[in-house]
Amino acid sequence: MLRALPLTETLSLTALAVLLLLPLGIGAYPVRLATVIFMWAALAGAWNLLAGYAGSVDLGPVVHYGVGSFATAAFMLKLGLPFVVSAVLAGVVAMGIAYAVGTPTLRLRGAYFAIGTLALAESAKQLALAWDRLIPFPLTGGSAGVSLPLASGYVGFYYVMLVLMTAVTGAALWLQRSKFGYGLRAVGENDRLAEASGINIHRLRRRLYVGSAFVIAVTGGTAGYWLSYINAMESFSAAVTFQMVVMTLLGGLGTPFGPVLGAAFLTLISEYLGTRLVYYYLIVIGGIIVAISLFAPSGLSGLLQLGRRRRLEATP
């Protein structure tokens, strides 16, 4: 473990350096594809922090995504702030909301927490749709959505998403090692034990919930500006949540690089199949998801580790 550490860091930095320089060498489309992967990796990674390290399955992370998109748009259009400032402010807004909402919700356990957060997400969607009719301060445009100005180029989004992904992955790596992380893993494994040993579970979970809300919100704000258009149906769609969950589970729940792997795998496989089996690729992807979950229940990361272990066992 100790010997592997410097190697991990060297490889991390190499990967990061390659990714930093990547847009110089490749065409516009691969850059977009990479941006899409980073975006999902950041989202799935943020979800993984809570679900993978604290054992709380949140089925409503899309709330933060939606809040982030609309808050970013509002800061940009109503106050005329630059994009990066708006996105960060939107992240702060989402943290505030997550704190207020998370405090009561995080008291729910297991399936109750999962369904409670799902209810929150659907409520948020309906509220966003009705907002402009109910409240004299128009914000969401109702079902008509909000149109944003065209960004001058797309490479900026690549770097923003890369930063978000790196931050989330770094946080997960840190969690694995820190005292905070040990506390959380105790929570994930046994609530009462952790409580008895004096760890304030509720506060730990809330910190993670609020922290991941920030990342998800900034990602949502960035995605909205990138697309140049947001509407409540899409920005609060349960499909975003499902994708985050599926990517994390495919890659490996509770592993720092699992969400990255899951995001890359699912994006690239649908890119590859989507251009060849235009009509049937979603069926095939469904089959792949079922197959992976049955034969590699700890995700793709588990699959690779297994292969490694076997090889190690084979060499005397």
Binding site: A119, A130, P297
Partner: protein
């Protein structure tokens, strides 16, 4: 005016809708209660049931009501096979894994349905169903009454099956402790498969009931998955008959919102209510749900 016509009519509408909600949720409740599977493909089973009725009626001119048992059998077979060949492999694994498998299954089912039958919205034309009873000031559409009565009847039948039959006792024993059940000579894997089959079958019938009054199309499932989760939680997790109360609550709350507030808020009210119940009455409205 002695009877508040508007209010009574709203309650009637809510109850009629509630019957369908209860039927559409009872399968999810049963499966979760027994096997601990969070079935993300639940709505797709409802969709397939609706299509079974549509095709049996349209192609083979089977009477609409007679399609219900057929729809149950078809979906039972599908559900049994899914559990036996796929989901039984996830037993003893974390809860989330079943969510992932069923998500994959739902992706397959939706897109197979889409390629087979296209995205057309299809509607049944059942002449004898298209009437409405007009009783004094009240209007009661026949197709809705049938859907509601069959829905509640099915939930009641399922409760009876669980409480009064040998199979029901085996299912309940397995739900409580699979290992224990095995020692008493029950094969838990077989029971899980039968349970998923029954859950899938009743969801299929719920779909058939929906087809009596609403258009059928491959993408209709997700809505029912969401509503079913809401109904199950309102009624109390793990308390199968609770879906009756959950369905009624959801149906009536939405109808009241539509009549006295605004149709646009009916879903908002539904989900806020769901959250409030979870937070303050986690055992469901009747307080009979299972608390972890």
């Amino acid at each position: 005016m002695a009877v508040p016509v508007e209010l009574v009519q709203t309650l009637i509408n809510g109850i009629l809708q509630g019957g369908v909600y209860a039927a559409a949720a009872v399968g999810l409740s049963l499966i979760f209660g027994v096997s601990g599977i969070l079935n993300a493909a639940h709505g797709e089973l409802v969709m397939l049931g609706a299509f079974s009725t549509y095709w049996l009626f349209t192609l083979y001119h089977v009477d609409a009501l007679l399609t219900l048992p057929l729809s149950f059998l078809l979906l039972f077979a599908l559900g049994w096979a899914l559990q036996y060949f796929l989901l039984n492999r996830t037993l003893g694994r974390p809860l989330l894994l079943s969510l992932l498998v069923t998500f994959g299954i739902s992706l397959i089912l939706v897109n197979v349905a889409l390629r087979l039958w296209s995205a057309d919205h299809r509607m049944l034309r059942i002449p004898y169903f298209q009437r409405s009873w007009i009783i004094g000031d009240f209007i009661v559409p026949l197709s809705r009454v049938v859907a509601c009565v069959v829905g509640f009847g099915m939930v009641a039948g399922l409760s009876w099956l669980l409480s009064a039959t040998r199979l029901g006792r085996m299912i309940r024993a397995t739900a409580q402790d699979g290992e224990m059940a095995r020692m008493c000579g029950v094969n838990p894997r077989a029971i899980y498969a039968i349970t998923f089959g029954i859950g899938s079958g009743v969801s299929g019938v719920a779909g058939s009931l929906v087809a009596f009054y609403a258009p059928v199309e491959p993408n209709m499932g997700l809505t029912y998955t969401l509503f079913a989760f809401a109904v199950v939680v309102l009624g109390g997790l793990g308390y199968t008959a609770g879906v009756i109360w959950g369905g009624l609550t959801l149906g009536v709350a939405q109808a009241l919102t539509e009549t006295y507030l605004e149709a646009g808020l009916s879903l908002l009210v539904a989900f806020v209510l769901l959250y409030a119940i979870l937070r303050f009455m986690p055992a469901g409205i009747m307080g009979k749900g299972r608390l972890e």
